[in-house]
């Protein structure tokens, strides 16, 4: 991920353990749902789960379109 950034393409990290992402050096971070299902939630209905995933991806796209100057966690 850091190499992708170094290579010159903006990158967003969608992950659950934000401190690890920060340690590794991600600049745009979107906190995810849970380790075994970062972009889903098996406890919800299929429709709710799709909505959760859609919101996370939209948030990731928004992060990619946002100017940042330091490590930024996109919470809302």
């Amino acid at each position: 991920m850091k190499e992708i950034e170094r290579g010159g393409i903006p990158v967003v990290h969608v992950c659950t353990i934000v401190p690890i992402s920060q340690t590794v050096g991600a600049n745009r971070i979107v906190p995810a749902v849970a380790i075994p299902h970062p972009l889903g939630d098996p406890t919800r209905t299929r429709e709710e789960e799709l909505q959760i995933r859609r919101n996370l991806v939209l948030k990731a796209l928004k992060a990619l379109g946002t100017e940042v100057h330091e490590q930024t966690v996109f919470t809302d």
């Binding site: 190499e3 992708i4 969608v14 380790i35 972009l39």
Partner: protein
Amino acid sequence: MSYRIVHYINQFFAGIGGEEKADYKPEARDGVVGPGQALNAALKGRAEIVGTVICGDSYFAENMAKASAEILEMIRKFSPDAVVAGPAFNAGRYGTASGAVLDLVAKELQIPVVGGMYPENPGVELYRKSAYIVRTSDSARGMGAAVQGMASLVLKLLDGEEIGTPEEEGYIERGLRKNVFLDKVGGERAAEMLAKKLRGEPFKTEYPMPVFDRVAPNPPVRDMKNAVVALVTSGGIVPKGNPDHIEASSATHYGEYSLVGVMTADADHYETAHGGYDPTYANKDPNRVLPVDVMRELEKEGVFRKLHEKYYATVGNGTSVGNTKRFGEEIVGKLKKDGVDAVIVTST
């Protein structure tokens, strides 16, 4: 009277279970559990493990504040003189959890704390300043040496003995500076080092420069509607059957897979190769890790122009920094050649 030690371990080393039990809630038990036995033996009766606190790695990672508070209370009830966590080797969540526990114990209970990790464990960078972390091998094969090192360091700390340098004691550099008296003045030592350097001889700096491997953020995508967006994952989502045989842990390669005509990463065609988390949910619906379904939806709605026709996947589970760096360099080269404007990386 021997010192009282509390030992923190994860669900795996407690023998409770693997990834399917990683959501195990904190639990306190009297006496030793799992690797505590070897640790207790290494303490040679001068200290004794009076209690063990166990927590599932995912439970901790997903509920850090709550889990830390619960674990601290469990530890406090044993009235320990010191706390030892791990060894966590190269297990990232375990290392992070044990580091967080040690950090909190050191702050709240003001007693010696010792951990054990492989230097590349992310828990090291996060917590090496708050705890002595003994340098271990990357896997449990190094258990013997790890518990010996951790036992001797915790005994020294309990005895109030002076702790030597990281090299002497086998712990990971904490970034602390200490004043010492030497016979030669600084100028003389510097000149000697320079002379050695000029002669091409090995020399040892007295002040290693910190290495910050940080990359400045790239400018954002200004025109998302016209952007090509690629998916990359360390969550191990591969075509069913794992055609490239990506390893479940310590991956040595990554896969490049076509998304042409793929509308969803469904369970009939995809699965996870990752051995470091419970695969039940990802196997049931791989979109939970690699969100192809909603990417197609948003592509169709025109939120961005195109989902890149290939995705890249590897397994981020004890995979060495050297390997992941190489994967990243190769992947970004390909993405640039293909005209990709932005990348979403998903991790489990």
